[in-house]
């Protein structure tokens, strides 16, 4: 499983402020503990790396990690005294905790994006996650895979379910890394999909779809509906099942195209791509991975965090989703 925390790498891209709401910034001051909640529960603290200006002082496996301001940090001590990260918190609980003021920074799920309360801020990274359909070995007929690829109406999902977050894509790597992802078609063509399905036998028209992340269940439902329009019967099965196709997300591990492509291929069980020396070779390598429709890229999605009214400064993440707690301070309010 790829981790979102590897990005404690050494290259910090320029911050992109994608959304900034809330009261006008106040004057920074020191002190306070930033309460952060995340869904994941990393097995060891190493995956967090070392957020700039902080050191790990407490680690409760699966529950909690506390970072404390490094008094000797290069560039000066951060404003916050501590960052208290609660692990394994569901998106819904995070949203509730943010509403109740129990958390300062939480992940925002798709449902929460739709109903952001006034005065809240949301920070979004660059599209650093790839959502894709990945076929298992049972589906040997490429026409089935292509039909499903043509059936999915990405634009409706993007507009409504994803609230226009991220990008529609038919490519493995996002546009901001390669610059050519638009070349890969991401347009639905139900008529062509129906034509492909018509040539299939009844048994080949039935697929099982597993969803790794329950938060993506609504997207799976829509894919199921789109597939039905193409006369494919898709049944959604538990994530643990040995499904014909899975709706998965994987993090773009690097801004380096070759590195990212290799990691994605590894994550999806594809052949290792040939090393590319230039964009053309990179494109061909990616094209080769997508031939045969073993993987159907759907969207490139950003990480989105919401911040409570106490949190000032920001943003909390950079382009690749790396936390930037050093630029935050807390404004205590009555």
């Amino acid at each position: 499983m790829s981790s979102r925390w590897f990005v404690q790498t050494k290259r910090i891209a320029p911050l992109l402020l994608l959304a900034a709401f809330g009261p006008a910034a106040t004057r920074p001051h020191y002190g306070g503990t930033l309460r952060v909640e995340i869904r994941e529960s990393p097995p060891s603290p190493e995956v967090f790396g070392a957020p700039k200006g902080f050191v790990l002082t407490t680690w409760e496996a699966g529950r909690r990690a506390i970072f404390t301001a490094d008094e000797n940090a290069p560039g000066g001590r951060p404003f916050l005294d501590n960052v208290d990260i609660q692990l394994a918190r569901s998106l819904r609980d995070q949203s509730v905790d943010l509403e109740l003021g129990k958390a300062d920074v939480v992940e925002l799920g798709l449902a929460e994006l739709r109903r952001q309360a006034a005065g809240r801020r949301a920070w979004s990274s660059a599209p650093v996650r790839l959502m894709a359909l990945v076929f298992g070995p049972r589906i040997t007929d490429a026409r089935v895979r292509e039909a499903l690829a043509l059936a999915v109406d990405r634009s409706a999902i993007h507009s409504v379910l994803l609230q226009k977050q991220g990008e529609i894509s038919g490519a493995l790597l996002p546009q901001w890394i390669t610059g050519y992802s638009f070349v890969f078609s991401a347009t639905a063509d139900v008529a062509k999909a129906q034509a492909l399905v018509a040539a299939l036998g009844p048994a080949d028209r039935t697929l099982s779809l597993a969803v790794d992340d329950p938060a993506n269940r609504s997207i799976a439902d829509r894919i199921q509906l789109n597939a039905r329009d193409a006369h494919l019967t898709v049944s959604i099965v538990p994530a643990t099942a040995n499904a014909d196709v899975r709706l998965v997300e994987t993090r773009i591990p690097s801004a380096d195209a070759s590195h990212a492509l290799a990691s994605i291929a590894l994550a999806f069980g594809l052949n290792e791509p040939a090393p590319a020396r230039n964009p053309e070779e990179q494109y061909l390598a990616e094209r080769a991975l997508l031939d045969g429709y073993r993987v159907i890229p759907l969207f490139h999605l950003p990480d989105v965090y919401g911040a409570g009214p106490r949190v000032q400064g920001g943003p909390v993440i950079d382009q690749l989703g790396e936390w930037r707690f050093d630029s935050l301070w807390l404004e205590d309010r009555p």
Binding site: R114, V160, R222
Partner: protein, 580 residues
Amino acid sequence: MMFRTRLLLIFAVALTAAVGIVELIVSSSARRAFESMEARRVNAIVAQFDKEFQRRGEEIVRTVEGIADSAAAREIAITPDPSAYLLEAGTLASTNRLDLLELVAGDGARIVSSAQWQARFGYREDWLASEPDWQSHPAFLKREELPDAVTLALMAVRTVAAGDMKLYVAGGRKLDREFIASLVAPQGMRVLLYRNLAPGFAPSELIDAGGPVASSSLLRPLVEQVETQRREAFGTIGRGASAETFHALPLKGRDNDVLGVLLVGNSLSDLVLLESSMLQTAVIVAVTGILLAIVLSWWATARITRPVQQLAESAGRVAAGNWGATVEVASQDEIGQLAAAFNRMTHELVEQRDRLVQAERVAAWRELARRLAHELKNPLFPLQITVENMQRAREKYPEQFDEVFREGTSTLLAELANLKQIIGRFSDFAKMPAPEMQPVNLNDLVTETMRLFEAQLGKAGISASVQLDPALRPVRVDGEQMTRVLRNLVLNAVDAMPGGGTLSVRTAALGAGVRLEVSDTGQGLTPEECERLFTPYYTTKTHGTGLGLAIVQSVVSDHKGRISVESEKGKGTTFRIDLG
């Protein structure tokens, strides 16, 4: 069949038929009453269904109107980006307790939010745009597709208009077992709902308040009949106490297509039990009746058939010759009158027999006297003449007296012998002895007898024809008397042919007996003569005593035989004797 048995059968059949008819009438009346009651109960259930259907429809209409009038709906109607309201229908449906709710943008009739199938956002609902005015439209049945199934729902649609923007609010509730459970059916009745959600009969869609019905296949023909004919239908399923009548009513949608079938079932167990009880009662009554019939028939036969039986026995005694038999007159009814009439009849018979016997006796004595006078008169006249000649010769011719005396006494002796013979024949008839039976070959008897008559027949110019059956077996007869019979018949035939002719004697085996026929070719007899031929002292001849054929008949009768005569005037006569 005995009268007693017949009477018993008549009693039993009449009683059983009466009980059967009564049972039939009562059963038929009970069935009509039950059917009438069932019709009323079904009508009540259907009315209840209609009322509940209407009530729920109105409730759904009010709820949908409430949603359409809400600020949230107006906000969705005017929003340029409805994607933020994807979950709104689910929230509103939950708040308003609707199973189904869709918010559909008027522009293009695309779904903004669907409570029942969230993923269908953006899909078109063209049927909404087909109705120009939803505001006054009542609730209606609709087949609604869900992610994993299809359901039947009671729906209502209202529109939200905001400027030139429009939003359809289509909401409803499922027509499911909860709806069926709200219908209170009387005991013995049940209400089922078939949801016609897909082509072909789906057993799982036939539900009652508890869920799918177990015996759905039995109702399949009725459901299919309603779907095909699109109108009410009736049917009965099961047998015996588990039989059930069903009234099936079509539930139609906006396009008048049959979306469901309401089935009101009424158990026939009460009727079957009632009919069974009546049948049991009828059987008990019939059996009791038959037993009563037996007793009554015995009693009736004691009253009716016993006198009749006595009458029959008395009639049998009369037939056997006891003409004085009488029966006891025990009552004054028809049987008593019949017995009295019988007694009068036998009394009259006895009196008439006595009178007849007396008359016949007088006639016989007269005939006997006539015959005696006739027979005796002939010899007496020569006797008188001879005596007178002897007297006259003694007075007038004494010299010739001796010669006259000698001749006279000779004549007198001859005539006296003649008188003696006549008297002997009469004596023989009177003294007919009982036959002594022994096996006799009739052919031998005929041969020997005919041999004695050869000379006489030849002298009379009569030819004899004897035809004897060689298969003839010996019969037990009195040979002497049978010889006398044959002799008399032959002599009778000789007398019938004074000018000659042919005498035929034939024997023939006749089953276990024999037949003897004697025929002549004489003048023949008239029918009247044939009838009196065997009467004693009757004769058609100028001589004879008239006892010959009477003796023949007497002998044949003593041998338990039968004698008959056939004759045709001018052609001859045949006497036929059959012996057992």
